[in-house]
Symmetry: C2
Subunit: 227 residues, 2 copies
Amino acid sequence: MQGTQETTSPSAAYTRTDRTVPTRSPDRAAYDKELVHAILDQAYVCHLGFVRDGAPVVLPTLYGRVGERLYVHGSTGSRPLRMTGQAGPGLPVCLTVTHVDALVLARSAFHHSINYRSVVVHGVAHDVTDPEEKRLALDALVDHVVPGRSRDSRPANRKELAATAVIRLDLDEVSAKFRTGGVDDEPEDLALPHWAGVVPLRKGYGTPVPAADLAPGTELPDYLTMP
Amino acid sequence: MQGTQETTSPSAAYTRTDRTVPTRSPDRAAYDKELVHAILDQAYVCHLGFVRDGAPVVLPTLYGRVGERLYVHGSTGSRPLRMTGQAGPGLPVCLTVTHVDALVLARSAFHHSINYRSVVVHGVAHDVTDPEEKRLALDALVDHVVPGRSRDSRPANRKELAATAVIRLDLDEVSAKFRTGGVDDEPEDLALPHWAGVVPLRKGYGTPVPAADLAPGTELPDYLTMP
């Protein structure tokens, strides 16, 4: 998972708004664009929230990033994608990405936690109608799963492009939130006999399983041998 | 992560509703309670969606399960938990849990996919006010992170219980969705020279890092040596 070439300056940050400043633990919130991009680029799925008939709906979906734009795709018949309308007012969404990095085990039940990194994006999603933007978005979606993969696969043809709806969400109202570090137990609990500490969660590729009907002589590409 | 002792019969299933039957790929949807429970019990965080000022909000959060009830906790000052009200009408929510199990690399960009398992729960969340239910919920939240851990930590005291809000969401309108298996390429693409197959994603514990101030002689518990 990767982004495209960056033109963001290191000091660039998203502007805080009422809904991106948390009421609790504001010290765990961040608005730095590089940090936000890194969190977005390292996850496989986002959770896309929207409102239908007055009730919230949250669906997991693949996504891709091109600079300050996120793209989500799906069948032209799927419900959220039908709701964005054709050049209409768009669909208010909240797109959230979360990594669980470690379990934090405290002596007290109360101070159990996890180390995590998350990004929450608020905004209005719009249909992508420009064919060139749609192609770039679909490349970004494939490259998000495996960096560089779009150049090592057959691009979508006219029929596939027509069957695929793509929606865009600009990175504008954005915040990151995270927890790092160790255990925060109360001083009076330190002598308790319970093990306390941090349990990292391992991540990485397992052994790739080639398709049974792979063309003879097709080697495993280098980009799949990374950890 | 585990559930409590099950009394669900193997054939038990959630009743389908308009919003739990997908418009696309209905063959990938399931309503079996055992399958739903397994997906719920194996994840660390859920994504909780609700509506605020007419717009969707999706936040990652820890959760626990006791039979057919899910529990989410947080500070009594946090926004979603304030919105459930005290014995009021409750907060309409959508709670979604997703596992990404493998990357599916096809010869064509269009057929790239992931193998995943997800559960979507629709319902109305209510404050838990009964002290005994609240204690059981908090145990479930800790045991969800590490099975059995609630019996190996100091339980919440009166002050901690008062600072913690717990909300309940009944498992009633529920569906699972998943993709398993291999690559679905078009017949005319099979001879293309692109590697195709499934790349599993590894999961498990890394090496636990004990707290620097751990009481002398505190051994790493057996439940942290599992894969």
